[in-house]
Amino acid sequence: MAAKLDTSTITIENIIVHSIPKHRKGDFSVEPQYSEQESSLPDGLRTFFKEKVVQSLQSNKELLVCYNPDNTSPVSTYINQIISSDGNDLVGQSKLMAKYLFEIQDGQNVSGILVIISGKINNKNTCIIIKLERDEGAQLELDPKTKSFNIKDVKDLMLTKKTKIYKVGLFVDKSSFKIKYDGSTADLQIDPKTKKVVTTWFIEKFLGCVPLENPKTTTKKFYDYTTTFIQTFDDPIKRAKYTQDLNSYLQKNTQKISAKEFADDYLETQDKDTYNNYLKDKKFRMSEFPKDNTYIDNKIKTITMTFANDIAIVGKKGSFEKNVKLEPLNDGTTKAEIVSKVKSVR
């Protein structure tokens, strides 16, 4: 039986840091600064990094991923080597990761810090990657004696506004958990005021991963489950409102969506928890996934309300909400009022 990865069981054993400078594509006059050994990790900092990883993977930005066999990124090989060597190959393999990151970055990418961790989750080996992106300054200094970065400096960077974004990936040997995915990733903005678009560059190009499930299928499942959930309400006006909300949400100009965001933005609090439990039963996750409306495009463009007397009202996106006034009557029926010119009858 597949085991659930429980992030509360994460233990951080070893940690190593490499610094990746900003550079133009093909400009190798600058080089990454590699640690030659793991950084020393006092208990307080061990706890700090564990909590940062847990918080990231608990966030709405968390996404289950698989290695894409068609991707040329060698990072999965390095990760697997760290996992299978019980973290013994952490130094060598993490340097290769940093080298690859440096090679694929171009002038568009800001300077970054790559933190690689070997540890355990559910008592089994895991490799955790944290990438910090900095817009400016605050260069880390490599200790010439230990040939490693001071991990406290990394913590300080994560707590200041100098680091705008950090990305986290946690990977395991999926066969030992009998699961279908290789890991879990999250893109986070440390400063919520930052409007920078979070791309999938880290997941796709660097890690060489794709979402566990095809976004077309996930989006359709989200639509189908949510629609079925909405139909469980007795109140037709609430059903109409939530259906319009779902259609609007799916047609918003965003690349990623989530059941959590839909619930937060549109549902009443007590309905949110019922929705959460409903999706939990269906094993559908609340966190974010890439949106692809291909399979549902036709369904979300119109809304149809059919009455018991066989009269139906069909409205296009946005028009229903604006032009149809619904009112509950004491006998349990609903009054629908449309004030407009008749355009056609057929």
Partner: protein, 327 residues
């Protein structure tokens, strides 16, 4: 007669050993008895040399008796809040110690005896218990464990101060006064027990019912006491998040204990990993943390949407981070 110098020499040699054993046993009891969802007061003492000599002399006057016969050179005392806790402590003692003899003194007391006394166990450490394995040198040391209620303890201390020894020494009028006092202590224990039982079953005050359900579990994991006033306030606040949804409240009351039991390993790990961080994660030192974890699992939106009105958002984030999530 007792050879005083022999006792002095023997005790000079033995006292430090019994002192060490006292530390080991009392620390074990304090740490382990919380698994039985109790948090009693635990004390130990080694006997004073003078008391040893006096006791040996006194016993020798009645029968053949020597220093070696003394079983209370080390005395451990466990003081419980309620009478019903005594049975739980007895179970704990039987499971973790080699019990040589038991005396439930109250059962053997004539109705007209002026006393209100505790349960006594002559015991040795059980070396199969993990925590005692490395203390096998103490395997044959016998000591006494006294288990009593707070009222038995209060009676015992007061009676000791009054220094009366035998009922026959007292005039009838005074004897009657002592009887009346004694009955108050016994009655108090009975009444505390029945109030405790009634409050546990009292469903109308849902906040209190919930706290009583959480308390024992909290002792088990946190191994410390908590602030009841804060708990009652917090629980009441959180329960109000359900507004009129009485079904959800009832469901919570019915399933909170099984939630804790189902997640026992996880909760134990969280407490073990963070035992020295109570000062920075204050919620770990209050039983309502179980309620918050339950809510995060079963009513995440209800708690998140309301939390900021009453508490600090960072606290919820901290509690949530401790719990983690399933990927």
């Amino acid at each position: 007669m007792a050879n005083v110098q022999e006792i002095v020499d023997l005790w000079k040699d033995d006292q430090p050993k019994y002192e060490d054993l006292g530390k080991i046993v009392s620390s074990f009891i304090k740490n382990k008895i919380t698994d039985y969802e109790l948090l009693p007061e635990v004390q130990y003492r080694t006997k004073e040399l003078v008391s040893i000599i006096k006791k040996v002399r006194k016993k020798q006057a009645e029968k053949e008796y020597s220093y070696q016969h003394l079983k209370d050179k080390l005395g451990i005392r466990i003081i419980c809040t309620f009478q019903e806790d005594l049975g739980i402590v007895e179970k704990f003692i039987n499971e973790n110690f080699v019990v040589i003899s038991v005396e439930h003194k109250k059962d053997n007391l004539d109705f007209n005896r002026l006393d209100y006394v505790s349960n006594h166990y002559d015991a040795k450490i059980k070396c199969t218990v993990t925590e005692f394995k490395r203390h096998a040198t103490f395997e044959d040391f016998i000591f006494e464990i006294q288990v009593r209620t707070l009222n038995q303890h209060a009676w015992s201390n007061t009676a000791h101060s009054l220094s009366y020894k035998r009922e026959t020494d007292l005039p009838d009028k005074l004897k009657r006064k002592v009887y009346r006092l004694l009955s108050l202590y016994e009655l108090a224990d009975d009444e505390f027990s029945s109030v405790n039982k009634a409050l546990k079953e009292h469903q109308e005050n849902i906040t209190y019912t919930l706290l009583r359900k959480l308390e024992g579990k909290f002792y088990k994991f946190a191994k410390t006491d908590y602030d009841r006033e804060i708990s009652l306030l917090d629980i009441n606040t959180i329960l109000n998040y359900f507004e009129t949804d009485d079904n959800a409240k009832q469901q919570l009351i019915n399933s909170i204990e099984s939630f804790i039991v189902t997640n026992e390993q996880k909760i134990q790990r969280i407490y073990n990993d963070n035992r020295n961080r109570f000062y920075e994660i204050l919620s770990l030192s209050q039983p309502e943390i179980f309620l918050v974890w339950y809510m995060l699992q079963n009513h995440p939106f209800t708690i998140k949407d309301n939390w900021a009105n009453d508490f600090d958002d960072d606290d919820l984030e901290q509690i949530k981070t401790l719990w983690g999530n399933e990927l």
